[in-house]
């Protein structure tokens, strides 16, 4: 039975090792902040962090997580995460909001490794996250806002 550390809590998970982390989070642990959008790593709605790095949980087998620490939208913390969430709220980025957990996880990943991303950096880090409501302009502005806040 795989052990899984999610947001600092270790769980014994009753799941086949091939089961995607996405469905373990959502259907076993009821951590529903991480979203299902496409199941084929095309949309980024399922983005979580493994040891701080953004990954698509729909393509991550739970058996492959090992001892890596899983962080989901419910468990993000620290300066970067707070700056990103504050910027998202200040600029009222969200519309339907369904993709925004994944957007925020990707943005935190970007700003954690690049304190002052250019527009090209943002394109590179965020192009894998689809927002069907088309909130991209505000996502971009919020990432710049968070970067200013962190500087």
């Amino acid at each position: 039975m795989p052990k899984l550390t999610v947001n600092g809590v270790t769980h014994e998970v009753d799941a086949d090792p091939d089961m995607p982390l996405l469905w373990v989070l959502r259907d076993r642990l009821d951590a529903t902040g991480t979203k299902y959008g496409c199941g084929i790593a095309q949309c980024g709605a399922c983005t979580v962090h493994l040891d701080g790095q953004p990954v698509r949980s729909c393509q991550t087998k739970v058996g492959d997580v090992g001892t890596a620490r899983v962080t989901t939208i419910e468990g993000v913390s620290g300066r970067v995460a707070e700056a990103v969430q504050a910027a998202w709220r200040k600029l009222d980025v969200v519309q339907c909001g369904y993709c925004q957990s994944g957007q925020i996880m990707s943005a935190i990943g970007l700003l954690s490794g690049n304190a002052k991303p250019s527009d090209t950096d943002i394109d590179g880090a965020m192009d894998g996250n689809i927002c069907r409501c088309g909130t991209y302009q505000r996502i971009r502005a919020a990432i710049h806002e968070a970067a200013r806040d962190l500087a």
Binding site: I40, V94, Q95, G97, T135, Y136
Partner: protein, 731 residues
């Protein structure tokens, strides 16, 4: 979408004749009769009752909870509707909360849809404007009356602001929460005094969205997040061709998949029920189903379009006509003849369709979903489950997009959930999940459409005649709304935006042929305007260039009777630094203007069109939606409309090959991505007119503005959507 000026009118009478199972879908036979109204503005003040108890609850802790009767699928109506009521009430924004209303059309019908509780046609703010103002004002007067009684002072000396009730002469004051319980027992004033616009403190201001916090920390609950005790998850194997039915199936292998609990047949296919979503999907992969295609649509999309092209040679049903365009065109100096084609489009909301349904201990049913057509959905599920509609309780959640897909006249996916629950014996709550592939290949598309136009100008460039024929499948024919919307075979939602063109065209005819293919079609964010605006705005542009007149000036010359359209056009052109001359090689501006759902939008697109393809650099939009209730939400909706519609302009299409949908996921039907998003500037016309909607009206003008900009950049007219530059020389 559905305009019927009958507030609080006819209750829906679901027929109990039972189910008509056909074409793999479930259709409950009931029809709605109400008078359609052209106006997109909501009911007037006098026709609206003051119903504070239906729309607001004030708790002892001072929170003000506004009851939201509409689905919020991202358009921000929760914030907008709460703003309207809270302003009249005199609440502080920080004390405002919201709660989604239950299904109850006697209280929560959309007056622009007659007796239906539902969301669509960009009507949420428009139909609620006076209803929520009156409710808020009545509640304010009840708080004032209670304070006057307690303090033994004249009510005229009492004021309310920022969540506090004050009597200035005595310096007494009370919070809402201290007064609310007693105030609630007072009589409801039937004609409370509404605030003068000069007294508004929230309407017209930027207020923070009420859903921003929950949607940025993972706590917002969408219906796919519902977890009921003992719930099981179902996925359904549906026919690969529309209209096919199950011939036989073999579930032996599926039942062996770990976690699979049951396999049951339902009218739409075969449902695999499992412990979790993953097991249900694996079980479905192991299922073998043979389909009966004898009633299925087996053609390819090219064949359907070829049939349309043939039919477009005939005049069709007359949707509108003035003068004799054919005769007028004979005397024209220049005639332009053009064909426009549009593909099927999937809504592809980020949250795939889903719902959770369970039988309650009292014999009723509880359903958790993103309900966009509550009255229809409740009646449809009730008929399947054999109970009266009030026994089907709908619990609304945030919806992860919709763009029209969650409002189906057949309540398709909700009906399916009810049939799965029933087939599985109603033992455990059923969490029905459509995968992305199910959602995308499941039909209910924006119809494929073909337009053919002949338009002519005289030697001075003035329009002399316009002869227009279109072919496309009606959304309303065959639906419960047919009697309400379809007249003489013409579905107003098919022809809207063209048959009623505001341009002063002296001789004009619009004919329509209704498509007959077996592909389910549906409204897709801005409905008929998704195609009519493109045709009208590209053709007008062509005529302007043929007349050698600036396209903005040419439009204005035809819009003398449409001042609000002219207003947004001038504003957008001014803010964009309009010129119809190419900016640089391969770069140009294009313009379009259109009214939809009572709102007026113009866009100027700055586009680069080169070998690599079309890049939209910048969009400048001007909108007139009457009183701008939440200016920032309005801006967000127009920015979002650009992001949403851009991929349909550039590449999206749903195609059929031998009746089978070819696009199943975002790899083949790719929405706009971050790196493609243009800068969008939105300018709002100040207005005191009753507010209209903005969820949809940003969409129709994007495609023609871009296509017209491509012409400016390359000299090439691209009329088919999505725009395809590949055949263009010099691009």
């Amino acid at each position: 979408m559905l305009n019927a000026r009958r507030p609080n009118a006819v209750p829906v009478r679901p027929s109990r004749r039972g189910l008509l199972a056909g074409a793999g879908a479930i259709v409950v036979a009931f029809r709605l009769d109400a008078k359609p109204a052209r106006a997109a503005a909501g009911p007037d003040l006098a026709s609206v009752k003051a119903q504070p108890n239906a729309f607001v609850r004030i708790a002892p802790d001072d929170t003000v909870t506004v009851i939201i009767k509409h689905l919020d699928m991202g358009q921000g109506n929760t914030t907008g509707l709460a703003t309207i009521l809270a302003d009249e009430l005199g609440a502080a924004w920080s004390q405002v909360r919201t709660e989604f209303a239950p299904a109850d059309a006697t209280l929560y019908n959309n007056s622009l849809m007659g007796p239906i509780q539902g969301t669509g046609g960009s009507t949420a703010v428009a139909n609620s404007w006076f209803q929520l103002r009156k409710a808020g004002a009545a509640a304010r007067e009840m708080l004032m009356a209670e304070a006057a009684f307690r303090w033994k002072v004249p009510v005229a000396q009492i004021t309310v602001a920022d969540g506090v009730v004050r009597h200035a002469p005595s310096g007494r004051q009370a919070r809402f929460g201290e007064l609310a319980a007693s105030a609630a027992s007072l009589p409801v004033p039937s004609e409370p005094r509404l605030k003068d616009p000069s007294e508004w403190t929230l309407i017209g201001q930027k207020v923070p969205r009420l859903d921003s916090v929950a949607k940025t920390n993972g706590s917002a609950i969408y219906s796919l997040d519902i977890r009921r005790p003992n719930q099981v998850t179902a996925v359904v194997a549906r026919a690969p061709r529309f209209g096919a039915t199950v011939k036989s199936f073999d579930a032996a292998a599926a039942r062996k998949v770990a976690g699979v609990l049951d396999v049951v047949q339902v009218p739409t296919g075969v449902a695999v029920i499992a412990r979790d979503t993953w097991a249900a999907m694996k079980g479905r992969e192991a299922l073998t189903v043979a389909w009966d295609d004898s009633t299925a649509e087996t053609r390819s999309s090219e064949a359907i379009l070829a049939e349309y092209r043939e039919r477009a040679k005939g005049p069709g049903l007359t949707a509108s006509e003035r003068g004799d365009p054919q005769a007028a065109l004979k005397g024209a100096a220049t005639v332009i003849e053009a064909e426009f084609t549009f593909p099927y489009l999937a809504h592809a909301a980020m949250e795939p369709l889903n719902a959770t349904i369970e039988r309650a201990a009292d014999g009723g049913y509880d359903v958790y979903g993103g309900f966009q057509f509550q009255t229809v959905e409740q009646a449809t599920m009730a008929a399947i489950l054999g109970v009266t509609p009030d026994r089907v309780r709908l619990h609304s959640n945030w919806a992860g997009g919709s763009f029209g897909r969650r409002a189906t006249p057949t309540a398709d996916y909700l009906a399916e959930a009810a049939t799965v629950l029933k087939a599985a014996g109603e033992k455990a709550p059923i969490h029905l999940v459509w995968t992305r592939e199910d959602d995308m290949a499941g039909g209910y598309y924006r119809p494929t459409v073909l337009h053919k136009v002949r338009a002519g100008i005289d030697a001075k460039g003035a329009v002399v005649g316009w002869d227009h024929v279109m072919v496309g499948k009606s959304i309303m024919i065959g639906s419960p709304f047919e009697a309400m919307i379809v007249k003489n075979g013409i579905d107003s939602t098919t022809v809207e935006g063209a048959s009623d063109t505001p341009y002063a065209l002296p001789a004009y005819r619009f004919g329509v042929h209704n498509g007959r293919e077996g592909v389910p079609v549906l409204w897709w964010r801005s409905v008929g305007h998704t195609h009519t605006a493109h045709v009208m705005e590209v053709m007008i542009d062509e005529l302007a260039h043929a007349a050698d007149v600036d396209p903005v000036a040419y439009r204005l010359s035809l819009l003398a009777q449409a001042p609000r359209l002219a207003g947004v056009l001038k504003l957008a052109a001014d803010k964009a630094g309009w010129t119809d001359k190419p900016q640089e090689k391969g770069r140009g501006l294009g313009v379009a203007v259109h009214e939809s759902f009572g709102s007026y939008v113009a866009m100027v697109a700055d586009v680069s069109a080169q070998e690599a393809g079309i890049r939209v650099n910048r969009i400048v939009a001007a909108v007139d939606v009457g009183v701008p209730v939440n200016p920032d939400v309005i801006r967000a909706q127009v920015e979002g409309a650009v992001g949403f519609a851009l991929s349909a302009v550039l590449r999206n299409r749903i195609t059929l090959k031998d009746g089978q949908v070819q696009e199943h996921n975002f790899d083949a039907y790719e929405p706009t991505r971050m790196s493609e998003m243009p800068q969008v500037a939105v300018h709002i016309v100040p207005s005191q007119a009753a507010p209209t909607g903005i969820g949809e009206p940003g969409v129709p003008v994007l495609a023609p503005a871009i296509a017209n900009a491509v012409f400016s950049a390359t000299g090439q007219r691209l009329r088919a959507l999505p725009l395809d530059l590949s055949g263009v020389k010099g691009a």
